[in-house]
Symmetry: C3
Subunit: 109 residues, 3 copies
Amino acid sequence: MKAAVFLLFALLVPACLTSAQCLIDNVIDLKVQAAISSIVSSTLAKAKLLCQDVSARGALVSCPAGYKPTGCACGMGCGSWDIRSDSTCHCQCGGIDWTAARCCKIGVE
Amino acid sequence: MKAAVFLLFALLVPACLTSAQCLIDNVIDLKVQAAISSIVSSTLAKAKLLCQDVSARGALVSCPAGYKPTGCACGMGCGSWDIRSDSTCHCQCGGIDWTAARCCKIGVE
Amino acid sequence: MKAAVFLLFALLVPACLTSAQCLIDNVIDLKVQAAISSIVSSTLAKAKLLCQDVSARGALVSCPAGYKPTGCACGMGCGSWDIRSDSTCHCQCGGIDWTAARCCKIGVE
């Protein structure tokens, strides 16, 4: 039985290598391309921004693992902040009472 | 004609089940893997952050359906805000005159 | 050899067109679907939010090409800002000394 399969592909594979238009290649290619083009859009449709807020007392708060801060809010009406180590919101006004981070990642909803 | 196809696969399929290395499986696998690896990068290259700003009078403003707030801005210089229900910016300073939301989603540009 | 391949597909292809259940189609479909479903999740797992901060003196700062601002911070504690042309943070308080933008894009980490 293995011999039969080998014989079949001994015929097919060299034909693919020598012919510009290989039939079995084309059949598979077309099927794969058709399947993939529908997958590309459905994959992107499933991809969502997943976000959450975290807050803490003081001038610093970090996002959970895997999440990135996209913006920060501060107590005392303060709008001066920066992000440290790509993960932590830092409010700059003196004596700040609370700091919050808006944290997002890409995920499947 | 159906009998001929059946006969062909009667030879091929059992060979796949009994042999650790099935030739037809491998040929298809290689083609699929090659096609997919190029798709993965092109799919990600097409995926973009699509963002827009929305603003409204008062202390609350919501993002359009499908968009998530990534940060908020407030009138009166206020930087204290929070996000309600994962969709609405709320400015906390008293008597706030306007609220704006930066709203993003993943899409294809 | 080409004749042998042609003969093989002359048998197979019409069988696919005339039969509701085409064996070779099904074998390829199953393999493609299985490969793709694992790709969808691994592709999404590779997609990350890549973010960086940029800041500049004055009331305006733009994100690098390919990045979108998701939030802005301002000097002097100011929390009133807007985003111009989908790329530039603008702080609204008078005489603002610095402006920062949180800039993100989708990428592979």
